[in-house]
Every structure is written in C-alpha cells, then in structure tokens.
C-alpha cells in the first residue's frame, strides 16, 4: 500500500516538474518572440507606411525570419486597414497582403489549428484578399461544425460577393442577426439579386428589411413599404421598425391601422412613427395609447406626444389630467427623463 502511494506521489511530482519546465520554457520563448516581433515592427512601421501610401518607392527590408515577418506584416496591415482612405490604398494593401501572406494562408487553411484558421479568415477579410476566394469556398464546404470558423468563412464569402451564397441563404436556416452581418458585407449587385428572389425564408426577409432600414438607402424603401401589410407578423413589424429608421411613410393614413392593432408591437411602432413624423392628427389616439395596458406602448405614446410641436403641453396635460394612473406616471417620467443612449 505504502509503495503504491509512493509511486503515485512520485508520478504527481514528475508530472509537476515536467509541467513546470514546459511552462517556463514556453513562457520564455513567447516573451522572446513577442519582443523580437515588436522590435521589428517598430523598425519598419514608418518606412513601410510611407511605402504603402506611395510616398516612397523603396520597399523597406522586412525581417528575414518567416514567422516574424508574417506577424509583423499582419500587425502592420491590420493597423493600415483601419485607416484606409481610398481605392488606391486598398489596392496597395491587397497587393502587399497577397505578396507576403497568401501562400502562408493557403497552408494554414489546409493544415493550421482551429484558432490559426479562424485568425487567418479574419485577416483575409480585413485585407480583402479576394485572390483567396476559391480557397475559402473550398474550405467552407469541408466544415462540419457551425462554429466561428463556419460563420467567418461565410462572412468572407459575403464580402467577396460569392454567387453561391444566395442559394445558401435560401436553403439554410440562419439567425436574422447573422443574416444581417452577411448583408452588410454584400456588394450592391448581390443585394439586388436577393431582392428578386421570391422563396426566401422569413429570417432572410426580416434581415433584409431591417438592414435596409439601418442603411436608410432610398432605393430599398419600396421593398420595405411593400411588406408592411405582409401576412407574417414578424415581417410586418420589421417593416414598421425600418420605416421608423427611414423616418418616412408614403401614406400616413395607413398608420391608423397599426395604432388600433390588437398586436401591441404594432401599436408601439405606430405610435413611434407618428411621433417621429409629428403627425398631429394622431395626438388624440396617442393620448389614449398613453394609458395602454402595455408598458412599451405607453412609453412610445408619451415619447411621441413629447415630439409633437406642442409636445410639452400635451405631456403636461397627460401627466396631470389623464384618467389613467399609469399614463400619468409615464408622462411624468418622460417629462424628466432625458432620452439617451450609450456611446
């Protein structure tokens, strides 16, 4: 018994010593690599930025060690990518990224670890390395798990306007949020192609409508308005929300339909839109909605009253004379509350 325990203890001790040596060595190596990368980066930063921006024709010498060179280039181009000003800058970044990184990225996509592959996909998108589009597409079709690697591959393909993506959107079930991530990256032609598709799932339609509201581009407005009477409630609500962002509706009369709706979200968006557009003809309805059974409708109605040209008077009237206690409370809150969002 004692011998067994001693053996086990010895094993624990040995494991611990191995672990300690491994950690110390890898920590030292990590610190050394980081330092040499940071040193090389600071050395080439200014001359290389001058070269990238076209101020200098002479390409500065990069570190001879391949790993350091790749890390320096990634750090350099990441900073550069977030400050790009025009097509020329973009072009030079793409050319440089292709020259130093594309071969390495091809290898990583085939043989790298999960984290390396995901990082590479982030960089491919950031540096708009569209020469790797086919490689990313091939890689995408080999993926089994719907994790970050899967999502980032799709984002890259969306950025490059991959044609097969539209078919994929019609067939696969994605969340609306993720669909919007893809839409934000798609070129204008892909969006027009998508609008022509008739058999799109609800999540894609709501994603499109919501995204169009976000952009505020008038070329998408008819598509949004055409869906405010859609039979699907979610699509109707997204259209109303998008119109609030557009701050526009072709026919203000159609709002009464929503202000009287049995669906509280429609009453809320109706009230919000009436306020945004300062439609005084709905003031009486809004006053009634200030006493709605739903908190959000009450909030939207009082907020809308506040936005009217004589908003302060209306709100004071609601705060003091509304028959409903909740309406009075809400109006009082809106009188003192400064509406604001975080930044």
């Amino acid at each position: 018994m004692v011998t067994v325990v001693l053996w086990i203890s010895g094993t624990f001790l040995l494991l611990q010593i191995i672990l300690l040596i491994y950690l110390s060595l890898s920590k030292q190596k990590g610190i050394r690599n980081d330092n040499s990368m940071i040193h090389a980066y600071h050395q080439v930063l200014n001359p290389y930025l001058a070269f990238l921006s076209g101020e200098s024709d002479q390409e500065p010498e990069l570190p001879s060690d391949e790993k350091t060179r790749i890390r320096v280039m990634e750090k350099l181009l990441s900073g550069y990518a977030s400050n790009i000003k025009g097509a020329g800058d973009q072009q030079r970044m793409q050319v440089t990224a292709d020259k130093y990184l594309s071969e390495y990225y091809r290898t990583v996509l085939k043989k790298g670890s999960w984290a390396e592959r995901v990082n590479t996909l982030y960089y491919i998108e950031d540096f708009t390395m569209n020469t790797l589009q086919t490689d990313v597409k091939k890689h995408f079709f080999t993926l089994q798990n719907r994790d970050e690697e899967y999502r980032q591959s799709l984002r890259v393909l969306a950025r490059f306007g991959e044609k097969e993506l539209i078919q994929l959107l019609s067939e696969e079930l994605f969340s609306m949020g993720f669909i919007k991530e893809l839409l934000r990256r798609m070129p204008a032609e892909s969006l027009e192609d998508l609008k022509k598709e008739e058999s799109l799932p609800e999540s894609v339609k709501t994603g499109m409508i919501s995204y169009f509201g976000e952009t505020g581009y008038y070329e998408h407005l008819p598509y949004v308005e055409q869906h405010i009477t859609h039979k699907d409630k979610e699509i109707r609500l997204k259209s109303l929300a998008a119109l609030c962002q557009y701050r526009y509706i072709s026919s203000a009369d159609s709002l009464s339909l929503f202000l009287d709706s049995a669906v509280w979200e429609e009453r809320m968006f109706g009230a919000r839109l009436a306020g945004i557009l300062q439609l005084t003809r709905y003031s009486t309805t809004l006053m009634k909605l200030a006493g709605d059974s739903n908190w959000w409708v009450r909030f939207a109605a009082c907020e809308a009253l506040k936005q009217m040209p004589d908003g302060e008077i209306l709100l004071t009237f609601a705060a003091e004379g509304h028959e409903d206690l909740y309406a009075r409370e809400m109006a009082r809150q809106l009188q003192t509350l400064k509406t604001g969002v975080s930044g």
Partner: protein
C-alpha cells in the same frame, strides 16, 4: 480500544476513497475543460469580438450595480462601467439604503438630477425612494431604495431596467473594457439559445489599476491573496468550464454575469432570503428551462472579464467563506427535490450531487481526515510513516491540480510578464495543504453550521479600493 481503532480505520478508508474519487473527478473535469482552452489558445480575441462591437443588432444591456456602503469604490466602479466597449447599454447603480456617502458621491461626481419614476414591477421589492439620471452621461442612473439586501437591490434594478438583457455586477468589481462584448458573444452567436453567461473573475490585488483599468497584471505580496488566485484559477478554469461544457454550470459569479431578463422573470428573480442568491438563481433558471423543455443553455466563457478585490485579511476571508458555504447549503436545501431527480438530467444527476458531495460535504470529510491524522498521531493508532506518505500524496496531488490550473491560465490569458510569477504560483501551491486548506476547511464547516442556524447579511468587508485615480 480495539473497536475505536476499527472505527477510525473504516473512517480513514472511507475518506481515502472519497478523496481519490474527488481527485479523479477533478482530473476528469480538467480533461473536459483543457481541450477547449487549448483549442482557443491562439485565437485573436480582438478580431473575435470586432463584429459585435460595431453591430447595431447587438442586444442592448442594462448593467446593474447594487451598492451598499460602497463609498470607497462606487465612483471608480461606475467609471469602469461607463468606459465599457459596447454599442448600447445603460448603467444602473442601486443604492440599497446605504448609511454612508454612496449616493452622495455618485450624485456629485456624475451631476445627477432626480427623475420621476414609472417602474414596471416584475418583482416586489423594498420601496424605491428616488431615481436620478446623470446630466453628463444620459445612460447612467442611480436608484435609491430602502435596505433589503443584494438580491432585493438586483430585483429593483431589473424592475427599473429597460433592455432585454442585464448584467449583474458587484459594486467593488471592475470590468474589462470588452467584458460585455465577450460575455454577450455566446448569446448573440447562439441567437438567444444561451440565456446566461459568466466569465472568469480575476483577483485584482497586486495588479496596477489606474482609472479603473488594469494597466499591469502582477502578483500580490500577501500569501493569503496569492492562495486565492490559485484557488480562483482552479475553480474557474477547471471547475466551471468543465461543468459548462456539459451544460451543468450552476454558478455564474455574483461579481459579474449576464442574463436574459425574460428568463430571470420567468424564474421569479433573485431570492431575497438567501446569501447565495447568485447560485440559487442559476439553479432556478435551470429548473425553469427543464420544466419548459427548452433547449436554452447557461454558459461560461474562459476569458477574464471581471476584476475583484479579494479579502486580504484572515477575518474578511473567513467571513467570505462562511457566507459562500452558507449560500451553497441554502441553495442545495431549497432545491433538494431536484437532487438525483432524473427529470433534471445532468443538473439533478450530476451537478447538484457534485456540489453536495464535493463542494459542500468535502469540508466535513477533510476536517474528519485532519482530526483522524492529528488524533491518530497523538494517541499512536496511526503510524508516522503512513501519515507522512498519505500527506505527501495529498500535497502533491493538490499542487498538481493547481499547476494544471496555472497552465490553463497561461493558455487563456498569459498576461503575467515573466517566468518568475509562474514559479511563484507553483511554489505557493505546494504550501496550500499546510495552512490555507485547513483554514478554509474550518471556515466552511462554520458556514455549514451557520446555515443551519443563522440569518443573512451583505457580508461586507473593509474595502481599500483597487483603482488609483491618477496615473503615477
């Protein structure tokens, strides 16, 4: 005398079997947690959250900061919250009837103005007396209410909040700038399937924190705090990640967690008559999820997102451990019907029994072990040789688990600037079984007794404040 020796022997064998089983369980959880951490080891964390940091669809969050007599740290906590990198959020400080200058400090610092209230009442709480909004930051609010405890303060905060998700944070904690983005990512990626998330809580003592931001990570000089750092690594990186991967996470730290408001409302909010309201809520959320046959999950992320000041004196650590143990006892007692109940699957059959036998009763088993060893040596019914061998095995095993936790921490965060810090952690972990472990075992047993008898409190400790206001 022979019968006594027989009883002691049986007890000793049982304790050895128990300790061996717990050890195997820990190794098992390391094997579950380790690959996940290794997989994400080199992931570019900034790029990973870049998308949601700019995305207009990122769910807005209400950050709830309950505070009771937190005049020392409340302003730096609020500043740390305001500096968070997140598209849309509000910060609500809930002063739970403090007798010090908590509210006055916040009102003066952020130029707050009183606002009228139209609060929705999801839960009954102690009366809310006043609400204020900052004139400098329109998304910063302060509500003053009568004292009702931390859980009651959080419930009042939920009533006041307007966003669909909320983050609950202790008044003395500091959040990493990207904390909300990192903790919300699993919720956003899963399109709401994940209903609550918690991240790793780190001890800030020893690190340099300027203007509510961690500037340099370093180890503290006090051994009692150093041991807690090792303990936190073990608890978070092995225990919680292991359980989370099996969808059996039962604790999202009270120091920082993000929750879907609807799910918390369905579960009934925070329970006000327990000191372990954070764990109790999670168990109730699991119950509500299982009762509804929903496929929602509660997840833990390994990223360090929250910094907290650990107790640096024996008395405050003792009070903290007694409170934790009491909270655990009360939660397990409240939800005893879920224990071994196949209806609750992993939660009923593994997670709750794990917390009962490993986290709660281990204190009793260990204390019995210590008593047997000491008494056995004094009255000579255990040989010195056997005692020495068993003790060596325990020390080495304990430190091996701690070393593995240090390895996981190096894989996830690797922010200690030198090899010396790692060596220091290693060496201190060897000393745990000689002083730190027996002390905490004793306090946990006290907590267990207090749970059977006592009553609740905020369990405050004297804060020194962890943030320097001016850069030196």
């Amino acid at each position: 005398m022979e019968w006594l020796s027989w009883i002691v022997n049986i007890a000793a064998i049982m304790i050895i079997i128990y300790m061996a089983s717990v050890s195997l369980l820990y190794i098992g959880m390391f094997l579950v947690a380790g690959p996940r951490i290794k997989k994400e080891r080199q992931l570019n964390r900034e790029a990973h959250i870049e998308e949601i940091s700019m995305n207009k669809d990122t769910f807005p969050i209400s950050v709830l900061v309950p505070a009771y007599n937190e005049e020392v740290g409340v302003v730096s906590t609020a500043r740390s919250m305001l500096a968070l990198n997140y598209p849309q959020f509000e910060v609500i400080i809930i002063d739970d009837g403090s007798s010090d200058q908590t509210s006055e400090k916040v009102i003066a610092e952020f130029r707050m103005k009183e606002i009228d209230l139209a609060i929705r009442r999801y839960f009954d709480t102690q009366p809310v007396e006043r609400a204020y909004q900052s004139t400098l930051f329109p998304h910063l609010f302060l509500i003053q209410k009568q004292n009702g405890g931390k859980a009651d303060a959080l419930n009042a905060g939920i009533n006041f909040s307007k966003y669909p998700y909320f983050a609950a944070i202790d008044g003395d904690s500091l959040l990493d700038r990207d904390a909300l983005l990192k903790t919300m990512k699993p919720i956003i990626d899963s399109n709401g399937k994940v209903t609550a998330t918690g991240g790793t809580v780190r001890i800030a003592n020893g690190s340099r924190i300027v203007r509510s931001e961690v500037e340099k990570v370093a180890l503290p000089k006090t051994p009692i705090v150093l041991m807690q750092i090792i303990e936190y690594f073990r608890a978070f990186l092995i225990g919680r990640l292991g359980l989370s991967r099996m969808n059996m996470l039962l604790i999202v730290s009270g120091a920082f967690g993000v929750f879907e408001k609807n799910r918390v409302i369905k579960a009934g909010g925070y329970k006000v008559d327990t000191v372990g309201e954070d764990m109790e809520l999670i168990v109730r959320m699991h119950k509500s999820i299982k009762d509804e046959r929903s496929d929602q999950r509660i997840e833990y992320i390994q990223d360090p997102v929250c910094w907290t000041e650990a107790p640096s004196t024996v008395s405050s650590l003792r009070s903290q451990r007694r409170r934790w143990q009491r909270g655990l006892t009360e939660t397990l007692w409240t939800h005893r019907s879920m224990l071994f109940n196949p209806k609750y699957k992993g939660i009923g059959l593994f997670a709750l029994p794990y917390y009962l036998f490993v986290e709660l009763l281990s204190a009793i088993f260990e204390l019995t072990g210590y008593i047997i060893i000491v008494a056995g040596l004094l009255f000579a019914f255990i040989s010195w040789e056997i005692t020495f061998v068993m003790f060596t095995a325990t020390v080495l095993y304990g430190s091996l688990i701690s070393s593995l936790a240090v390895l996981l921490e190096e894989w996830t965060y690797h922010k200690y600037p030198d090899v010396k810090s790692l060596l220091k952690l290693f060496i201190w972990s060897l000393s745990e079984a000689f002083w730190y472990r027996p002390l905490t075992v004793l306090w946990r047993c006290e907590g267990l007794i207090a749970a059977i008898r006592g009553k609740g409190s905020w369990g405050n400790m004297q804060r020194k404040g962890i943030s320097e206001e001016e850069a030196a």
